[in-house]
Amino acid sequence: MSYLSHTDAERRRMLQAIGVDRLEDLYEDVPQGLRLSGLDVPAGLSEVEVLRLMQSKAAENLDLETRPSFLGGGAYFGYVPAAVGAITGRAEFYTSYTPYQPEVSQGTLQVIYEFQSMICLLTGLDVANASLYDGATAVAEAASMALNATGRNRVLVPDTLSPEYRRVLSTYAEGIGYDVDVGPIVEGGQLDVTEEHAAVIVQNPDFLGSVVAMEKLATLAHSHGALFIAVVDPISLGILKPPGEYGADIAVGEGQNLGGWLSYGGPYLGFIASTPNLQRRLPGRIAGATVDDRGNPAYVLTLQTREQHIRRERATSNICTNEALVALGATVYMALLGKEGLREVAEHALQKAHYAADRMGAVPGFGVATPSPFFREFALRCPVPAEEVNRFLLSRDILGGLDLSRIYPDNASLRDCLLLGMTEMTTRNDIDACVSALTDMVAARSTTREPAGVGGRA
């Protein structure tokens, strides 16, 4: 059988078989105005010409390898050790499709098992699944588990949960039919939890970078019969208390920064772990360890059939996939770094964020809006709209931060604020360059706008 596309002779035979004279006759119901009359495509290029064209296009990108960036907000530019690419690029892992039959896929299944074990160690919880799409869907899946476990129909999230995660949660809520209450964490770490809430979902560090008093909130949630779901930055767990130690029933998060590239936003890596009493509600796949008939270690998918093949429409979740390759990358990364390495990466982020906050917050007109303690990110209050600051920084070849007025348009206390994020890749030079740029921007403003009598401030 030929895999070439249809020849003219074949087309003629097909048209004959259905009794049509010309191919165009098949389109007669499409209005004339909607039909394409030729494509404006340039003539073909040679391989080397294509390469040069693409290189020149690529050179227009602002890449993070060559200039400082303080973008964060859920995706982080961390170092990806060479071993990650080398191992994930192996054809056994890279090209295999749904490799879950235990008879032939012990390697993949073992990797998943190792990944789950590492996520359990990291979160301090007992059971983890084989991964989910990303942090946002992991939050939504955790909410579904809680709704199912409690038989309740609302969840409560503070507005410091990532706005993107809240949007994905709302999308799930609309489909499944539950309510998402968004309320602020008020003074003293209180939240308006009621007996109607299935879960309280709290991000730590929160979207503005602050480390949250999780234990108190967990106790509060539990006292109303709600589950407590922690949304965590896995790197932060190198130095912060794991969710299992402060009473979280479920921990979820975005695992992109465990040895994953930014990749224009995906594929990323959701992770989810829970206490043992919720294990049967964990969505997707779980690999388990057992022994074969000769007593050798062996790995198989467990609990999966229950949800997808038997419970079907009654299942808590019908997610049928995971991010196996990205999870493999994260497994390699965690194995390479170990507990000590992870702590160092976390400390880099922490110390750089605090150095940056001290320096940038001291530039006249600027101030730090995130209350301490914070981990890798903080909000910087600017004397002019954040967008303007970003534009100035870009003119100095610096990628600034996330404009918070876009995310919290109604929050006056975050007006003119930039969210700045650090990783182990941020250097002191990067921060110092940004501080000089901010200082120059302020100086330029005062010389252009404040000369006495020349249209100065009223």
Partner: protein, 127 residues
């Protein structure tokens, strides 16, 4: 006659105990399920109408639902099953009981099948 074990078409048994009714899974159903590994049971206080889902019973072969054979409130749940689901296999009519209901109408029990009728029903269903 109220103290004779009765059976539902969804394979639960019911036995009257004073004003309440104990509910379990029939021997036939247990045999069909194979080794039971997990049960998801309702909370005490839950109101059930006849035919409502009581919970799930999971075996090595399948996950099935348990249905309320009569209407009533759940007044006791066999908590022993959480750690020892195998009791359902070992002693389905005794230690493997599932819940105790406070029936809305004790007379509902009399509408269920006697063992002989149920055995015939089960045999036909299997055929």
């Amino acid at each position: 006659m109220g103290e004779e074990r009765r059976y539902s078409r969804s394979h639960e048994w019911v036995i009257r105990e004073g004003d309440s009714a104990r509910v379990g899974v029939s021997e036939f159903a247990v045999e069909q399920l194979g080794d039971v590994v997990y049960l998801e049971l309702p909370a005490v206080g839950k109101q059930l109408n006849r035919g409502d889902v009581i919970g799930d019973i999971e075996s090595v072969k399948a996950v099935s639902q348990l249905y309320a054979p009569i209407s009533g409130e759940v007044i006791a749940v066999n908590e022993e099953l959480e750690a020892h689901p195998e009791l359902v296999n070992e002693d389905p009519l005794g230690k493997g009981w599932i819940v105790v209901l406070q029936p809305v109408d004790l007379g509902d029990i009399d509408t269920l099948m006697f063992k002989a009728d149920y055995d015939r029903f089960a045999a036909e269903e299997q055929a």
